[in-house]
């Protein structure tokens, strides 16, 4: 036990103290935040100056609505402006992205007006013009001309705003009560209720999203730490320490210690990220709530969290031991990296199994998938949150996976021990088989 602890402790302290660990711990969340925020930031930068639009409003009614909807300048006083628009304008820090100018037509012909606007467009006095014919309310046909047609986002914004303005105006003309219009504009609040043997549970969607998140985190951490496990197993081979170690510890103890040590490093890092993420989420919710935007975290039964952790660990170890096994066969980390392809394939497949399993969680295929150790963690979790299978199935799946981990560790220790004495030579399959037999 002293020896096992010594190995675990060494693996853990050496790695946690390493500069790489600290860098990745800080940088990964920052990178993710950057990836989440950057696109929005970039688009804001692109919008640059507000767009100057001349509107020929033949209907004489739509322009104010269009303005309100796009710029939200009267948002505070206007009950029709929705929360999103307000939040948007707060975020942009600018009262208007568009500057409207109304052109009085005063009996001029359409061609005449167009010619004038076109010349202004060419002279870059304006960026676009919009013609709303007098019969727009009936024909629903408007014309939009602009210099830069590749700016799809603002074109779409204007179209959507016009759509909304037209609809509201039609309703007003049909003498519909403004409060009714407001209600009509509300989008649907889609609440899914899950009915299982245990009764009604709300918000399976949140749980499902979390399973997806767990699967994703598993995927990322196996990719990240699988390589580290591989490296850890090869380390003593490359540095030729194995011989000293084997005169002191049993190979199985050494392998177990290494796996646990590296895994504790992974868990340390994940725990740091999880705490940071949870704190961020709670803070975010409270900020949104204080700004009057009702938000709440999905409510998920406590038992689910237990399953998440258990299956995450099991899944992690199944793959980690596969990496260790690979490490016991190859001689250098480089070689191991190339040979890791099949493991990554399995991992990718197990990730994509989300879809078929979630569609048919009770099918025979789903059952068998959740019993195969490589696929069990994700498919069983999906089954649990969608349509919780009988408890014995969950236990059986766990037992199969755990036995796989133990068997793989044993095999790894065996191969490692014989293989390490044959320096500098990659083992052939038949050699490996022979090693295991001896």
């Amino acid at each position: 036990m002293t020896k096992l602890l010594a190995v675990i402790k060494r693996e853990w302290t050496q790695r946690v103290r390493a500069r790489m660990f600290i860098i990745t711990t800080v940088m990964l969340p920052l990178a993710m935040i950057l990836f989440a925020i950057a696109p929005a930031l970039v688009l804001r930068i692109d919008s640059g100056n507000p767009m100057r639009i001349v509107v020929v409003d033949g209907t004489g009614k739509l322009l104010p609505r269009l303005k309100t909807s796009l710029n939200g300048d009267d948002a505070a006083s206007d009950p029709e402006a929705n929360v999103a628009t307000r939040a948007n304008s707060i975020a942009s820090g600018r009262s208007s992205d568009f500057i409207f100018e109304q052109l009085q037509t005063a009996g001029r012909s359409e061609d005449d007006i167009k010619a004038e606007l076109e010349s202004r467009l060419r002279a870059k006095e304006i960026d676009a013009y919009l013609i709303l014919p007098p019969d727009l309310m009936q024909s629903s046909k408007a014309q939009f001309f602009r210099r830069n047609t590749s700016d799809l986002i603002s074109t779409r914004k204007i179209r959507d705003a016009l759509d909304g303005a037209l609809r509201t105006q039609r309703l007003v003309e049909a003498r519909v009560d403004p409060r009714t219009i407001d209600q009509l504009d509300r989008s649907v609040d889609f609440e899914t209720t899950r009915i299982s043997g245990a009764g009604r549970e709300r918000d399976a969607g949140g749980a499902f999203a979390l399973v997806f998140l767990v699967g994703f985190v598993m995927y990322i951490s196996i990719l990240l730490y699988g390589q580290i496990v591989l490296g850890a197993v090869i380390e003593e081979k490359e540095t030729r320490i194995a011989e000293v170690l084997f005169s002191s510890v049993r190979p199985f103890t050494l392998m177990t210690g290494k796996l646990l040590g590296v895994s504790l490093v992974a868990l340390t890092q994940l725990a740091i990220w999880a705490i940071a993420f949870a704190g961020f989420a709670l803070y975010g919710v409270s900020v949104l709530n204080s700004r009057g935007i009702p938000t709440r975290l999905p409510s998920i039964p406590f038992l689910f969290y237990v399953y998440f952790v258990v299956f995450f660990l099991v899944g992690y170890f199944v793959y980690a031991t596969m990496y260790a096994l690979l490490g016991s066969i190859v001689t250098t980390a480089q070689e191991g990296g190339q040979a890791a392809m099949p493991i990554i394939m399995l991992l990718v497949i197990s990730f994509y199994l989300f879809l078929p399993v979630s569609r048919n969680p009770d099918s025979a295929v789903s059952f068998w998938l959740s019993m195969i150790p490589f696929f069990a963690p994700t498919s069983m979790l999906v089954r649990i949150v969608t349509q919780t299978p009988p408890f014995w199935q969950i236990v059986l799946s766990l037992l199969i996976s755990l036995s796989t981990v133990a068997a793989l560790t044993w095999l790894t220790a065996k191969i490692y021990r014989v293989g390490m004495l044959m320096y500098g030579k990659r083992a052939s399959i038949s050699e490996v088989v022979r090693w295991v037999r001896t």
Partner: protein, 307 residues
């Protein structure tokens, strides 16, 4: 070799090991007596390291048996052995002190006890100032000494050293030699392999010479040398001609060096008689010394014989 079985620390009985078609060790039998320094000698590739690896249970023999302290190897016995493998290896990015503490823990030596021993040993091998340095900053010789410490840190009863002196400068060889002799004085059994015969000659009590996977000879150094007595004498004389000497029926061969000669006596000839003959011939004898074969000579002779 007369041995009391209770006094045997390592008993290797008819052990063989093959790697594929290649026989690394064949029918090796040897007994290492407690409290003595045992040298496993042989040219490169003779099977020394393989034999040692089997003794410390890193590889298993194909046939034959090995007993340590009268038992088959087990984890309790493992803690009584200190092993310095031929392949040197340390964790490069660990500090020297940490590294030694880790190795101590692997031998069930922990806490204050471990720290104390580490300090004592670092001091003894003149490495104290390097305790907080990372291993990769140390020279090869220093790393070798660190690894030696890791082999003896847990105060093992049996110390097995595979080529412990290779790659060390003469000062460090002396230092390590003294440490090994001290181990013996403390009642430990030491097995080491080497092809440096001069060191073996100076510190070994018993030797076993192996060549081409097989034992060539073994026994205490004294016995080995005695059995190798070639009955040759270093002689420096004045006033007699070589012709006279060569004519003697006692002499089988004469080899001339600068101012003296090496006389190989005929089989069963008595050196005393030869001396009397010399004096009777009127020679003034300024040097008359029985030449003991050096381990080096024995090595060369035996190894080339079996080549």
């Amino acid at each position: 070799m007369t041995t009391n079985p209770n006094n045997i620390t390592v008993n290797v009985d008819c052990v063989s090991k093959r790697f594929g078609d290649f026989t690394a060790v064949k029918d090796l039998t040897l007994a290492v007596r407690a409290g003595r320094i045992f040298g496993l000698l042989g040219p490169n590739g003779a099977g020394k390291s393989t034999s040692i690896r089997m003794i410390v249970n890193i590889t298993a023999p194909d046939s034959g048996s090995i007993e340590l302290f009268g038992q088959k190897i087990n984890s309790r016995i493992q803690d009584r052995i200190g092993y310095l493998p031929e392949e040197r290896g340390l964790y490069k990015s660990m500090k020297v002190g940490e590294q030694l503490r880790f190795f101590a823990q692997l031998k069930n030596v922990t806490g204050k006890d471990a720290l104390q021993r580490i300090d004592t040993w670092l001091d003894r091998l003149k490495l104290s100032e390097w305790k907080q340095k990372k291993t990769r900053d140390l020279s090869k010789g220093m790393q070798q000494k660190i690894q030696f410490i890791s082999a003896v840190l847990h105060d093992p009863d049996l110390v097995i050293l595979d080529e412990p002196f290779s790659g060390l400068d003469p000062l460090n060889v002396e230092l390590l030699k003294d440490v090994v002799l001290n181990l013996k004085r403390a009642g430990k059994t030491v097995i080491f392999s080497t092809h440096a015969m001069d060191i073996a000659e100076r510190i070994c009590d018993d030797i076993c010479l192996i060549n081409r996977s097989q034992k060539v000879l073994d026994g205490s150094i004294r016995e080995v040398k005695k059995s190798f007595g070639r009955n040759s004498i270093a002689v420096r004389v004045e006033g007699t001609s070589n012709g006279n000497l060569a004519a003697s029926r006692l002499v089988s061969n004469i080899e001339h060096h600068s101012d003296e000669m090496e006389v190989l006596l005929a089989a069963n000839a008595d050196p005393q008689e030869f001396l009397r003959e010399l004096i009777a011939s009127g020679a003034v004898v300024t040097k008359f010394e029985m030449i003991e074969p050096s381990l080096h000579d024995i090595f060369i002779e035996k190894v080339s014989e079996t080549q």
